[in-house]
Amino acid sequence: MKKFSLLFISTLVCQILFAQINIASLHNQNADLENSFLNPSMIGNEYKNFKFSFLPIYVNFGNNFTSAGDILDYTKEFNQKGDSMQVNTSSINSIMNNLKKTNLIYAGADVTLLNVGFNIHRKRKVFLEFQVSARQHVHANISFPEELFNLFYKGNKYYENQTIDILPKINALQYADYGFNVAKNFEFTLNSKNKLKIKPAVRVRYLVGNANVSTQNSRLDVYTAPDGRYIEAKLNGQVVQSYINEKTFSNFNANSLSNLITKGAGTGIGMDFGVSAKLNDKLSASVSLVDNGSIQFKENAYTMSSKYAYRWEGYDWNQNIDSFIIQKDLLNLDSTAGAYKVSIGPKLMISGSYGFGKKAIFKRYLNHYHHTVSLFYVQGFQNYLNATKSPMLSVGYSYRLKNILNAGVNASVGGLTRASLGAHVHFGLGPMQFGFATNSLAYLVSKYNARGVDLQFYTALNF
């Protein structure tokens, strides 16, 4: 029971907090150290020697199939009618008309416990750039196949003579990672005016998984035979789960703390790769592949499976009535203890930016233009945790005044929320810095486009 409670609580927490891509913050060049988790080659851009980012946190919650407007319409109708509930078909139709092939509810948080970037100089030039980080992640998503909604909305005749998988999939993962990132600038002279600067970077991450549950490989196939002569349901369920031993918490001491930090319920290695290129001070581009890696869960690791098939052809008057009662062992899972491996959701990001307007000379290394237009393309490889196969394209503008102010807006299409408006603001008071970013501004324009809410906040010391 305890193990299920722990997983349930973890899953619940994950449902409250969401960790999708923080696209708004990416347009903030003054938060490149914080953004470097989506491209390791971003480190070293906004500080000369050293930056210590203190407890940056990003939380998000959203979905890709129903808007805040639809939900509010429901609530409004319910309140207006007092005790009775009014079902308004427009709200239901709106949801159904906006269904995706895979419909997701997602939540999570990324909390950075330690994020330090520092540059090694040689001959008054940056020679190597380093970053050391420690982060906690809680990611979860529930995906509902379009067929599940359509089955109840349009009826099973819509899927006559078709097999459909209607099982929602749940994924929840809580893990920590300890990363070490190194980047190195290379310069290539193109002509007398231009130099091509290329900065590859690689981050190695030691992953410590604390809890995981996943039904990603489960299916519930429903088949409606032609003319409805029979309906067949086949459950092929597989649930993997793992969690930290309860004794770690009940008898907490230095040893258990060490285990919690270094071993958890499973460990793994992750790698992030990135490369940035600057043709000149105005134009830059980058590509990165992050969250490559997996965690092998060993502690309290179980794979539970269940197979069941049921065919309904109507009440058979030739059979005993007892034969129609589904056997009580239907949900009895065959539980097998053993280690298993889960991915952390790899993503590809391609970006470009163009600076224009007045050029600011700032601390020699940190030259920049006041105005910047930037473009980001993010692509996941599966609908899993904070990754999605639906690509996201974001274009943004930012105004930058030295390290004092950076403010901007962006618009994004695709991804999990399908469309969003965001903004960021950064303030610098000497070495003290803080900033906010959010992608949740679509609601201010149209509540029917708002499908999520998020916020990033950070403080930092920059030297």
Binding site: G69, K81, S84, M85, Q86, V87, N88, T89, S90, I92, N93, S94, N97, F152, Y153, K154, G155, N156, K157, Y158, E160, T224, D227, G228, R229, Y230, I231, W312, E313, G314, Y315, D316, W317, N318, G357, H371, G396, Y397, Y399, L401, I404, L405, A407, G408, V409, N410, A411, A419, L421, L441, A442, L444, V445, S446, Y448, N449
Partner: protein, 362 residues
């Protein structure tokens, strides 16, 4: 500070982008209040009907009487007689359907109850014999025979229960009471008849042969009060009065028996036909047969009941229902067709419903 504010004001690009992005977000929300329509295919009931389900012989009983005249005694007169020996009483015909050529019985449990209301005693040793013809001298027409081992006193009751296996019964079946011996009696009056009940408890048939081009037709008329069906149809809630259910109950048959059937239920207002359960009759096509009358295929057919609101309205206006049922072997060119216990009639009812939901409250 003033310089900083001036910088903010001069961020014209920022405001241009904000304006453009706001336009991006101004996607018009389309209100779609159209009804929700769903279509459902749901199997409701199914099963197979076998030979033994169709014959309906179990639990049947037949009543007969032996009158004083049957044993040569006048009724209501004082009579005397020495010992009597009566070779047979009968024949007592067991009714069969004209359509049946023969029944091959795997097992049958039959019995007979007799209450001797004659003022005389029957000696032990009389028999009950079931014959396929009226000829009491023949032995090859005896289907079975059983002997009463005890004497049956006046006003006494007795019964026999027989389990018979592997017997063929033709279209004519008779039973006789044979070798009845009565003790001598004096000055008695025969003023009542003896009631005999012949009953069938259990039957397992192997085969039934039916004459071709024969039919059994049943029909009846029943008066009824339909009530307010429309109200029930609308669930009694005015808020969803526009919501509705329509569609069909589809009857799928897979007939492996060489019999045709037709069924219909017609709703009438006095002599006026208002509506019917089936648009056309429920029709069951018979399976094809070979030269020996054995089935060679299974014939599938679909019959539908249209669930429309107008039908409920018509039923509301009706005051009686006329139902008709027919089984026949019409159209077969062989003399008779054979139904074996392996021939099945599969029946399945599947609902094909359209559910339309308008905005409603609950």
């Amino acid at each position: 500070m003033i310089l900083f504010l001036l910088q903010i004001v001069t961020m014209r690009y920022l405001f241009i982008f904000i304006f453009c992005f706001s336009l991006f977000g101004c996607k018009k929300h389309v209100v779609d209040d159209s009804p929700i329509e769903s279509n459902w295919l749901l199997p409701l009931i199914k099963g197979n009907v076998s030979l033994n389900d169709l014959t309906q012989l179990e639990g049947k009983s037949f009543q007969y009487q032996i009158s004083p005249d049957d044993i040569g005694m006048p009724a209501n007169l004082v009579v005397s007689s020495p010992d009597l020996e009566i070779d047979f009483l009968g024949p007592f015909a067991i009714p069969t359907q004209e359509i049946i050529k023969y029944l091959k019985v795997d097992s049958i449990e039959v019995g007979m109850n007799i209450h001797n209301l004659f003022p005389v005693n029957f000696k032990s040793g009389f028999t009950v014999t079931l014959r396929s013809s009226k000829d009491t001298t023949a032995t090859n027409n005896i289907l079975f025979s059983s002997t009463f081992s005890n004497a049956l006193q006046s006003n006494g009751k007795d019964s026999i229960l027989l389990n018979i296996t592997d017997v063929t019964i033709n279209d004519s079946v008779y039973f006789f009471i044979e070798h009845l011996r009565i003790d001598a009696f004096t000055n008695v009056v025969f003023n009542e008849s003896i009631p005999i009940e012949f009953f069938i408890n259990k039957v397992r048939l192997n085969e039934v042969a039916l004459f071709s081009n024969q039919s059994i037709d049943l029909s009846d008329t029943v008066a009824f009060e339909p009530g307010d069906l429309s109200s029930a149809y609308n669930s009694g809630n005015s808020a969803i009065s526009d919501s509705s259910v329509s569609g069909y109950f589809n009857f799928y048959t897979d007939n492996g028996m060489p019999i045709y059937s037709r069924m219909q239920m017609v709703f009438m207002k006095d002599a006026e036909r208002k509506d019917s359960v089936f648009e056309n009759s429920f029709i069951l096509d018979g399976a094809s047969v070979d030269g020996a009358g054995n089935t060679t295929n299974v014939v599938s057919r679909k019959n539908s009941v249209n669930l429309r609101k107008s039908k409920l309205k018509n039923i509301e206006k009706s005051n009686k229902i006329v139902y008709s049922f027919s089984i026949n072997t019409n159209g077969y060119t062989v003399p008779y067709v054979v139904i074996s216990k392996n021939n099945l009639l599969g029946l399945q009812i599947v609902s094909d419903l359209k559910l339309i939901i308008n905005p409603f409250k609950f």
